[in-house]
Subunit: 377 residues, 2 copies
């Protein structure tokens, strides 16, 4: 029997990605894996069914799941979807392991082996499976475009017959994967960029992209590339330092997001009120409540002429490449679980052990780590 | 008596520019000119009244106009506004000289001297007054951002742990001022760019920006940098050549706009239907009906997954810099009309003679030129 991988159509509103793109499907089928995909699963990421060769297309979700050995998804399976999963199968997707404990219990109770893409360890061997990074990179690029698009002025310097236009000043807070990609993109567009991160280790990366690194007399770098939480005194100092840079900026892009935790409030209402009308804040941390006090998740707020944009599910706005990168991450993760055409996962493997949320009727992961994302505490 | 320049608030819906920015107002007042401005005229371009020093602020439009020697506007004065203008005054703005003859007659009948920014001759002495160019440059930049923002994929190449993302292919049609700025901006974002213009003289400019120039065995360059109209056979040949490049593009930006005339239809429905779902067309010529057969002015059309965006008044979307550049153009034009603190225009001057729409009870400009914009016939 070949391994059967099922790929349903995503059901969460606004989710435009698909867990399997045609290129990756082809790699699997060439390796003898059977792909069962729900009809139109790739439509909203512009991969029509006709782009997939040699796979089984099924209309009904229940049928897609019915005989699956492995289910690949983008969004966590809902309670209803979990009921459709064959007992004992493996499901791999984002799992939001810090939210909705009922979902995790439901996975456990059906004896599902659930791997959470958020939990893939950030070690070099697993880089090619790191979906948090691949999707954060897309969010950073898109965040930079949003800033340019919402701004009332040019980003690049422009020399014209009627005089010179000065380049915009853009401040980027958080120099993790998305922050660095935002810096690179804003620099490409020709703006002057300042960037800030509590982890001094990011200084060199920021500078190598042509941005100025804002210094705080604190270093909060911590274990495994993550940042520790700042003390109250340090936070106060941080806000004081940022206030002047925020008020001078044409655009601010904030990326201090921590999956499963409330985002740190780095920009207060008072700071926004010192910005010029026409300035823009793109809050890429809005999913966790936002880095700006005025952010409303999924909305665009106009506060005295300052635009505060709080987009949700940003990677989904570039569904072609977000799906491409995500499905490659899944493919690479599955490679360490397959040998001789059969599923032979070694659950002691560091990557698999770290990623496992539920297995053998047990919850394997407890949300004990205080900080799980490399952006900011 | 000092020269009195009046600047009303724009009344056309969606017009966010203002004809006088604080920097330019300061230059005028330092030269002894009196500025009378309508309250909140700069608000929608983020220049609050408090940014202007030493000017008279007046609430009512009629009062603004009442004692003006010169009126500066962005959009053409409406018939109602013309009634408010003091007889014999000078008004300078965009005039859409090919549209609404009633407006032009009304200007004549009130003995207004109307200068049309569209008619400023494209000679080197008048480059700093060339508002068509300054605003086209802004439209080209914004058009490139729109293309990147509507696209379902990355523009730059991206090398990641999970593999490489190929750069997007962008086709830009028309290599006038806006087309060249679009090329430059899309190149900055890292996409591969092809560009096409009927005027072979643009080839070198296109290539110097790092784009590939598409060749047609026709050269339609004509007098004064403008292009002649193509023959039917040439048009057929042009569409055949373009069809393959359009179908392979991630994004197409069209800039073949001709003020006062219907835009040439360069992209047919059949061509759109050969594009991949998720591809984007930004039609910067939508004001004149569009370069794409499916364009709807001011709307976004989804045709089998291809997005066709037909934005109107694009410069107004970047009101800060559009106003800044436009008001500098006006300032430079006024410089040749002012001597010793007095209005002393020499109406025989090539620039003034060329720009004059009505004067001394006569219509001075007849729309005889077949092609008035440098983009495409």
């Amino acid at each position: 029997m070949p391994i059967r991988i099922a790929v349903p159509k995503e059901t969460v509103a606004g989710e435009r990605r698909v867990a399997m793109v045609p290129d990756v499907a082809e790699k699997f089928t060439k390796a003898g894996v059977q792909i069962i995909m729900q009809r139109n699963a790739g439509d909203s990421s512009y991969f029509p069914d006709s782009d997939y060769d040699d796979i089984a297309l099924v209309a009904d979700a229940a049928e897609v799941y019915a005989q699956a050995d492995v289910v690949l998804k983008v969004q966590p399976p809902t309670i209803d979807e979990i009921k459709l999963l064959p007992e004992g199968c493996i499901v791999i997707s984002f799992m939001q392991p810090h939210r909705e404990p009922d979902r995790i219990k439901a996975l456990r109770d059906r004896n599902i082996t659930a791997l959470a893409m958020e939990l893939v360890p950030r070690i070099s061997r697993a880089q090619s499976m790191d979906a948090l990074s691949s999707q954060a990179s897309i969010a950073g690029y898109k965040g930079a475009l949003m800033a340019a698009d919402h701004a009332a002025q040019f980003f690049p310097m422009l020399t014209t017959a009627a005089g010179t236009i000065r380049p915009a000043k853009v401040l980027i807070i958080g120099a993790g994967v998305s922050g660095l990609q935002a810096i690179a993109t804003v620099r490409r567009l020709g703006a002057m960029v300042e960037a800030y991160d509590v982890r001094k280790v990011t200084k060199e990366q920021v500078q190598s992209l042509g941005a100025k690194f804002l210094e705080l007399n604190v270093d909060a770098a911590s274990d495994g590339g993550y940042a520790r939480e700042l003390t109250e005194a340090e936070k106060h100092h941080e806000r004081d330092m940022l206030a002047n840079h925020v008020s001078a900026a044409t655009a601010v892009i904030t990326t201090a997001a921590i999956p499963g935790r409330v985002s740190p409030r780095l920009i207060s209402t008072a700071m926004v009120e010192r910005m010029r009308p026409g300035a823009v804040i793109i809050d890429l941390a809005s999913e966790g409540g936002g880095n700006c006090e005025l952010t409303k998740a999924g909305e665009t707020v106009n506060h005295n002429g300052v635009i505060i944009h709080g987009p949700l599910n940003v990677p989904s706005m570039l569904p072609v490449h977000a799906s491409e990168m995500y499905s490659r991450n899944l493919y690479n993760l599955l490679q360490i679980m397959i040998a001789d055409g059969e599923l032979k996962p070694d659950w002691e493997d560091e990557v698999l052990a770290g990623s496992t949320l539920t297995r053998a009727g047990k919850i394997m992961h407890e949300p004990t780590r205080k900080v799980v994302e490399g952006e900011q505490p």
